[in-house]
């Protein structure tokens, strides 16, 4: 094997030598290829490498990377898991309690930080799924951000304007309406793709910004959704108590973890079931692998494009709804303009290889990173949080960069094959 040729090229990546279209007609096809190629090792390596590069930047600007990462780790509350003891959890609605290994009292910083991490993880799981689902249909949904904003706007509208509704119906209505709004926002891109063939990347980007400015108008001064009490502040009314999701861990006055995380986890499960065990999922994946073959097999490609993007939007809209009804309770112009939960979903999905488990773990990683570098959690003595927020962005960008590079992964695959790992030999045989 010659020196200047990437190692994986010749035998391992035989399809690469052919025409690129034949090798990768759609993004999903290519993904399926290196999903098998990389397994779990490459995402882990990718993340480690990105953190390593981030550490170099920290070091180069005169800070200590090890203490910095330790502070971020503690800021995310992950050290909570290392303090065992003799504690108990109260069982809701009873006076009973059961023994528990960890201390759940959120008066301690670690436990409180962990609730904040999980609070951030909840929408990240959903926006990650929003990207992952359409990816499996061969579509790249960059519109998670817009769908998230639309969901949040609708949730705040339902939560603050429908005052007289009873508790449970109000919550269900709020969440349902948010998810539906997101689904419609996504379906628009799908519709344009299916009918006139407009590229979904372009349309979803445009829809993101339409949502951004629509939110800025609706919640802005004298906008239809601005609050009734102080007209100088561009923020919505607070969601009424009946529409708030129940808190499950921590003090509700200090942003407790809400029941939405169960919804997010359930959605992960639903994602897996729908994709792998239903006709809809089968069709979506078939279109993702090869639209032409799917069409020939009698599958309506356009219908699946619309459905895939609608379901993607449903997930992202749900994320917006849960954030509003779970802990934000109101939405301001600034929230709309600085939020990038939807964009981080892209990194979550790609790092998680568009699988349910991967997205869950990826969301936890990015949730920890975001919380650990936030002004409230990070110890300013060790590393300035203003810098840390940007460090988090850099790490995220590096993960995206490395995760997108097929050849890098093929190269790693080759290295792994030399180590004669059994799973890989099987994958190689399948390829051949």
């Amino acid at each position: 094997m010659s020196e200047n040729e990437p190692t994986g090229e010749r035998d391992a990546g035989a399809p690469l030598a052919q025409d690129p279209e034949a090798y990768a007609p759609t993004v999903a096809r290519r993904l399926a290829f290196y999903q098998r190629a990389g397994g779990i090792v490459t995402p882990v390596l990718t993340a480690v490498f990105a953190f390593f590069m981030g550490g170099i930047v920290v070091l180069a600007t005169g800070h200590n990377p090890i203490t910095t990462y330790k502070a971020i780790f503690e800021g995310a509350g992950l050290n909570w898991f290392f303090h065992f003891g003799n504690y108990h959890i109260d069982i809701p609605f009873t006076n009973d309690h059961v023994w528990f290994w960890w201390d759940t009292n959120t008066n301690h910083t670690a436990a409180y930080n962990l609730t904040q991490t999980l609070l951030t993880t909840t929408p990240l799981i959903l926006t990650g799924l929003a990207v992952a689902f359409s990816f499996r249909c061969g579509l790249f949904n960059i519109g998670g951000q817009g769908q998230y904003i639309v969901g949040a706007i609708i949730a705040v509208w339902v939560g603050s304007r429908f005052v007289d509704m009873p508790h449970l119906p109000h919550i269900l209505f709020g969440i349902g309406a948010a998810a539906l709004a997101g689904a419609l926002w996504g379906a628009m891109a799908g519709f344009l793709k299916a009918t006139v063939g407009a590229h979904e990347v372009i349309t979803t980007i445009m829809l993101n910004w339409v949502a951004y400015w629509a939110g800025s108008y609706l919640l802005g001064r004298d906008g239809p959704l601005q609050n009734h009490t102080d007209k100088s502040i561009p923020i919505s009314d607070t969601v009424v108590d009946d529409a708030k999701l129940p808190a499950i861990w921590g003090n509700p006055a200090l942003q407790a973890l809400h029941a939405g995380i169960f919804i997010a986890l359930a959605t992960l499960f639903v994602f897996y079931i729908v994709l792998n065990r239903t006709t809809l999922g089968y069709e979506v994946r078939a279109v993702g692998f090869n639209p032409e073959a799917a069409r020939y097999g009698g599958i309506s490609v356009g219908r699946n494009f619309i459905l895939a993007l609608a379901i993607s939007g449903l997930f992202a809209g749900l994320a917006g709804g849960l954030d509003i009804l779970g802990w934000q309770f109101r939405l301001g112009v600034l929230d709309v303009q600085v939020s990038n939960i939807g964009f981080i979903g892209i990194a979550v999905a790609l790092l998680g290889r568009n699988t349910a488990v991967g997205v869950g773990l990826g969301a936890l990683l990015f949730g920890s990173l975001l919380t650990g570098t936030s002004t409230r959690s990070l110890d300013p003595e060790i590393f300035p949080p203003e810098l840390a927020g940007n460090l988090a962005l850099m790490i995220q960008a590096l993960i995206l960069l490395f995760v997108g590079a097929d050849l890098l992964i093929l190269y790693l695959w080759q290295v792994r094959r030399k180590l004669r790992l059994p799973g890989l030999a099987r994958a190689a045989k399948e390829q051949a």
């Binding site: 372009i202 980007i205 829809l207 800025s216 810098l387 850099m394 790490i395 997108g404 097929d406």
Partner: protein
């Protein structure tokens, strides 16, 4: 020629469905125009109630109806356009009726609006022409936003540290080129997905500029005495028309003409287009596909960064975190709206610059509703990709990595 013959000829030229759709489009426009105080006051045959909200609504709905009629009878593209125009017409028309008459007349002062339009269009022009060259070579550049932002920061940093604005522009160009080089390496050599890579570039630029901005300037921000790009008088008749304009605005006019000549009248431009349309064929005749693509991507990074530098050291004289705030994406929209042509991209940049300028100038009479004008570029681009003003056709190989054989 009898009337019947004439009607038949007209029908051949313009089938009824198309005619209806076109009328719908005109009506959609009219829905907005009718609500403008300047129009409804001075055109005597308008009913005096034209300033009420239901007029634009009625006309706009007619447009939507005509569009749907035409679309359901086969003239989909024109029909849906009419629908879109009708909806936009209703929205804008109702907004216009809510503004008080006097204010709207005063605010739309043309000269001030024109200069504001040029100011907001210039960064878009640089980035859009860069993005167009990049996409013409077959590499999609979602990272324009990040490259602009890096230009804005490193332009300010260079101008501040070296004490002169040309050095600022140089630093901006180098920084933008460097970010573009990363994108180029990822999408050309490593054959990464170009959308993923571009998104990563946006995040990377956001992180890097934010990090070094705080590391270097801290909470105080950039100093007030940063060397600025100067205003310059135009030569000859240009000076009479425009008077004093920023150096970068003049440069953007020059860039437009150069880009057109470069792309359509030089061998290098032909190579770029060939590589973007059919890389295999280009490779066969001996053009280095990778080389051309690298050059085009880096050039787009440099141009986008110059646009960003105009924002920081040209117009505002300071840098703040994430100051481009989506302008790179408007530039991307301008590339698409302008159908991947220099003059088209420039016209789109002007239009989008005007919508930004209008949004700021109308803030007085309309209040917050004027921010909706900022969404106009995106809405128009959505309508355009849906196939309105002639279908937008991207270069055939855009977004596809090329594998050498």
């Amino acid at each position: 020629m009898s009337t019947v013959e004439f009607a038949a000829k007209l029908r051949d030229r313009w089938p009824t469905e198309e005619l209806v759709a076109r009328i719908g489009i005109v009506l959609g426009l009219f829905a907005f125009v009718v609500a403008l105080p300047a129009v409804s006051k001075h055109v005597s045959w308008f009913p005096p109630t034209a300033r009420e909200a239901w007029w634009p609504a009625l006309i706009g709905l007619t447009a939507v109806g005509a569009g749907i009629w035409a679309a359901s009878r086969g003239v989909t593209r024109l029909g849906w356009t009419a629908v879109g125009m009708g909806i936009v017409g209703i929205g804008l028309g109702i907004l216009a009726t809510r503004a008080s008459e006097g204010n709207l007349g005063v605010v739309v002062v043309w000269s001030a609006l024109l200069s504001a339009t040029l100011v907001w269009a210039t960064p878009l022009t640089f980035a859009a022409i860069g993005g167009m060259i990049c996409e013409r070579s077959g590499v999609v550049n979602i990272g324009l936003e990040g490259m602009m932002l890096s230009g804005a920061f490193f332009g300010a940093l260079g101008a501040d540290k070296f004490g002169s604005w040309p050095m600022g522009l140089l630093c901006a160009g180098i920084a933008g080129g460097a970010f573009a080089l990363v994108h180029a390496y990822m999408s050309i050599h490593l054959r990464a997905d170009q959308i993923v890579s571009g998104t990563a570039i946006n995040f990377l630029a956001l992180g890097v500029t934010g990090y070094f901005f705080i590391q270097v300037y801290g909470a105080n921000g950039t100093p007030g005495d940063i060397p600025r790009i100067p205003e310059m008088p135009g030569l000859g008749f240009l000076g009479d028309v425009f008077g004093h304009l920023n150096f970068m605005i003049w440069l953007s006019f020059l860039l437009l003409i150069l880009a057109h000549i470069f792309l359509f009248r030089t061998p290098a431009g032909l190579r770029i287009r060939a590589v973007g349309e059919h890389p295999r064929a280009a490779d066969t005749v001996g053009i280095s596909v990778y080389g051309v693509r690298y050059a085009a991507v880096v050039m787009s990074g440099i141009l986008a960064a110059l646009g960003g530098a105009y924002l920081s050291i040209g117009y505002l004289g300071s840098f703040s975190e994430n100051m481009t705030a989506g302008r790179g994406f408007i530039a991307l929209a301008a590339v698409i709206f302008g159908n991947w042509r220099p003059f088209g991209a420039f016209a789109a940049a002007l239009l989008f610059g005007a919508s930004t300028a209008l949004s700021f100038r109308l803030a007085q009479p309309w209040g917050n509703a004027s921010v909706l004008f900022q969404a106009l570029p995106y809405v128009l681009t959505l309508i355009a990709v849906a196939g309105v003003i002639g279908r937008s056709t991207p270069p055939a190989a855009a977004g596809r990595p090329y594998v050498k054989q």
